[in-house]
C-alpha cells in the first residue's frame, strides 16, 4: 500500500484541473478539521 501510494503521491499530472483544486480543498479542509479537534489539556491535577 505504501509503495502504491508512494507512486500515486506525486503524480499530480494525471489529475484534471478541477481535481487539482478539489485536492487542495480536501487537504486544507482536513487541516482545519485537525486544528478544530485538538483537545485542551490541563497541566495540573491528577491523571483521571
Amino acid at each position: 500500500m505504501k509503495n502504491k501510494t508512494k507512486k500515486a503521491d506525486f503524480d499530480l499530472s494525471i489529475l484534471k484541473l478541477s481535481e487539482l483544486i478539489s485536492l487542495n480543498e480536501k487537504v486544507v479542509g482536513f487541516q482545519q478539521y485537525l486544528e478544530e479537534n485538538k483537545l485542551e489539556t490541563e497541566n495540573k491535577g491528577e491523571d483521571v
Binding site: 503521491d9 487539482l20 483544486i21 487542495n24 482536513f30 486544528e35 479537534n37 485538538k38 483537545l39
Partner: protein, 543 residues
C-alpha cells in the same frame, strides 16, 4: 491504482475514523490524541506545500504574457497633441500660454492649500519669463496688500532659496485685512497679461513657426497624423487575452460565465440575435463578432455622450436660443462685440484710477512722509472697494468674451464634435461649466471630469458625435438601434437607457472576450484554474 485525490479522500476518512475511536477521557489519552493530531498535521502540511507548489507552476505555465509596449506610440500621441495644442486656430495666446488653466486654479483658491497657491504663482511668473515679460514689484499694484505680498514673494523667488515660510506669515497677517487678496491677485495677473499681450503673441507666434519647421506639419496634417496614430493606439491597447486573464484572475469578471454550458453565456448570445446564428459557420460568426465590436465602440461613445449631455444642454440653453439663432448670429455678433469693448473700456478706466489711488499708499513705504495713518487706511479701503468692483466687471467680461467666441463659431451645421472641441480649447470655460452643471465643488473632481471630457473630445475615432448636430439622446439611441437591427443584432431602447448602458456594455464585452479566448492558445478552463489558484494565494496571505 488510486490517483492522489482518491488516496487523500480515503486517507482523510480513515484518519477521521481513527481519531473518533481514540479514547480521550484521561490526561494521557488526551496527550496521545493530540500527538496523533500533530503527526497528521505535519504530514498534511507536507502535502499542502507540495500541492501548492505544483498548482503555482501549472498556473504560471498557462499565463500568456502581455508583450505589448505602447510607450513609443504614447509618446508619438503626446508629441502630436502638443503640436495640435500650439497650432489650434480656435483659441489664442491666453489659452496657448496656459494662463486660462492657472487662473482658473487661482480663482478656485478656496479648494487649495497655500502651497498650491505658491506653485500657481510661480508657474504664472515662469510664463512671463518665457516671453521676456518679467514683472517687477511695482507692477503688482492692484492693492497695497497685493504689493506687500508679491514684493516678498518676488524677493524669495529671486533669491532661489525656495523657502516661503516667511511669506505664510505675511499672508496670514494681510488676509484678515484683505480677505479677497487672492481674487485681487488674479485680477492683477490678468491686467499684466493684457499689458504684455504683444510679447505673448510674439512668443506664441515664434513657437508656432518653430514647431511647424521642426515637425514639418501644419495644423491640418497634424490632425490627419493624429487620427492614424490614435487608431494604432486603440488597436494596440484593445483588450487582449492577457487582459482577459488578468480580469478573470482578480475576479473582476466571473470566468464561470464563459464556459460553453454557462446559461449566462448562451442567453447573452441569443438575446443579441434577432434570427439565430449558425455558430459553426466561421464566416457568419466572425461577421457577428466584428459587428459586436463596432457596436461596443458606438455604445462607449454614446455612453460618453450621455455623461456629458448635461454640458451640451447647458451650452444650448446659454448660447443657442430656439428660433432666434440666425438673428443672434448676425446681430448678436456685432452687439456682443460692442458690449465686450464697452466692458474692456470700463475695466481700463477703473484700473487706471486704481493704479493712481494705490500709488499714494504704496509709495509711502519708500518715502518717509509724516502723513496721518487714517489717510492711508482710507485709501487702502478705497482701493479694495474699487478692486472688488473690478472683480465684478471681469466676471462680466469673461462671460462676454466666451459668448463672442461661441457666436463666431456657431452655425446651423454646428455639431457635437464642434462643441466638444470648443470647450477643449477653452479650459477655463469648460471647468466653469463643469462646476456649474455637475454642481461639483471639489477641484480634484472638476479636473477628473475635465480630463475625461478631453479624452472624449480628442478621440478622433468618434463617429456619432461628428454627425450629430446637437441631437438629443433619444435620436442617437434610435440611430444606433436601427443600424444594428439591419445587421441582425437585437438592441432595444431599454438596452440604451442611460442607467442600463453599463450592463449592456458588459454583455457586449462578454461576447468579445469569448472571441478573444477562442482565438487564443488558452481555454476557459485554464483561465478558471488560474483564478482558483489566485484565490488560494489570497486566502493564504490573509492567514
Amino acid at each position: 491504482m488510486p490517483n492522489f485525490l482518491q488516496f487523500i479522500e480515503e486517507d482523510v476518512q480513515s484518519k477521521k475514523t481513527l481519531l473518533s475511536a481514540m479514547p480521550t477521557s484521561t490526561k494521557t489519552n488526551k496527550r496521545k490524541y493530540n500527538e496523533k493530531i500533530a503527526s497528521f498535521q505535519e504530514k498534511y502540511e507536507e502535502y499542502r506545500v507540495a500541492i501548492k507548489k505544483y498548482l503555482d507552476l501549472k498556473s504560471k505555465s498557462f499565463h500568456i504574457n502581455d508583450t505589448r509596449n505602447p510607450n513609443e506610440i504614447n509618446e508619438k500621441v503626446a508629441s502630436l497633441e502638443n503640436i495640435k495644442f500650439i497650432l489650434n486656430p480656435t483659441n489664442g495666446y491666453f489659452e496657448k500660454m496656459g494662463f486660462d488653466t492657472l487662473l482658473y486654479q487661482m480663482s478656485n483658491y478656496q479648494d487649495l492649500k497655500f502651497s498650491c497657491l505658491k506653485d500657481i504663482i510661480n508657474a504664472l511668473l515662469d510664463k512671463f519669463d518665457m516671453a521676456a515679460a518679467r514683472p517687477k514689484k511695482e507692477n503688482f499694484d492692484y492693492t497695497y496688500y497685493i504689493n506687500e505680498f508679491m514684493s516678498s514673494f518676488l524677493d524669495i523667488r529671486h533669491s532661489g532659496s525656495n523657502n516661503y515660510d516667511q511669506l505664510t506669515e505675511i499672508f496670514e497677517k494681510i488676509y484678515w485685512e484683505s480677505p479677497e487678496l487672492i481674487k485681487h491677485l488674479e485680477l492683477n495677473f490678468r491686467k499684466l497679461i493684457k499689458k504684455n499681450e504683444k510679447k505673448f503673441i510674439d512668443y506664441i507666434s515664434k513657437l508656432q513657426s518653430d514647431i511647424k519647421v521642426r515637425s514639418g506639419l501644419s495644423y491640418e496634417s497634424c490632425l490627419e497624423k493624429l487620427l492614424v496614430t490614435y487608431r494604432e493606439l486603440n488597436s494596440l491597447c484593445k483588450e487582449n487575452i492577457s487582459d482577459v486573464i488578468c480580469l478573470a484572475k482578480d475576479g473582476t469578471i466571473d470566468i464561470n460565465n464563459y464556459f460553453e454550458d454557462s446559461k449566462i453565456r448562451s442567453t447573452t448570445f441569443s438575446d443579441l440575435l434577432i434570427d439565430p446564428l449558425n455558430m459553426s459557420d466561421e464566416i457568419t460568426l466572425n461577421k457577428f463578432y466584428d459587428n459586436i465590436e463596432k457596436l461596443t465602440s458606438n455604445v462607449e461613445e454614446f455612453a460618453n455622450y450621455v455623461k456629458f449631455s448635461p454640458l451640451i444642454i447647458d451650452f444650448k440653453n446659454r448660447y443657442l436660443k430656439q428660433g432666434t439663432q440666425d438673428s443672434v448670429q448676425s446681430k448678436g455678433r456685432s452687439k456682443n462685440n460692442s458690449a465686450l469693448k464697452e466692458i474692456e473700456s470700463k475695466i481700463s478706466k477703473a484700473e487706471k484710477k486704481l493704479s493712481k489711488l494705490n500709488k499714494k499708499v504704496i509709495n509711502y513705504k519708500f518715502l518717509n512722509f509724516n502723513k496721518k495713518d487714517n489717510n492711508q487706511k482710507d485709501t487702502k479701503f478705497e482701493s479694495i472697494k474699487l478692486a472688488n468692483e473690478l472683480s465684478v466687471l471681469y466676471d462680466t467680461y469673461n462671460e462676454e468674451y466666451f459668448k463672442e467666441v461661441v457666436l463666431s463659431k456657431v452655425s446651423e451645421t454646428f455639431t457635437v464634435t464642434d462643441l466638444l472641441y470648443l470647450y477643449y480649447s477653452f479650459d477655463f470655460y469648460k471647468k466653469t461649466a463643469i462646476k456649474r452643471v455637475y454642481e461639483v465643488n471639489n477641484y480634484d473632481e472638476i479636473v477628473k471630469y475635465s480630463d475625461s471630457f478631453d479624452l472624449f473630445a480628442l478621440n478622433p475615432t468618434n463617429v456619432i458625435v461628428c454627425a450629430a448636430a446637437l441631437y438629443n439622446e433619444e435620436n442617437i439611441a434610435r440611430v444606433i438601434i436601427n443600424k444594428y437591427r439591419l445587421l441582425n443584432i437585437n438592441i432595444t431602447e431599454e438596452d440604451l437607457n442611460p442607467e442600463d448602458l453599463n450592463t449592456f456594455l458588459e454583455k457586449l464585452k462578454l461576447i468579445i472576450r469569448v472571441r478573444e479566448i477562442e482565438n487564443s492558445s488558452i481555454s476557459v478552463e485554464k483561465i478558471w484554474f488560474i483564478r482558483e489558484v489566485n484565490k488560494i494565494d489570497i486566502a493564504n496571505s490573509a492567514e
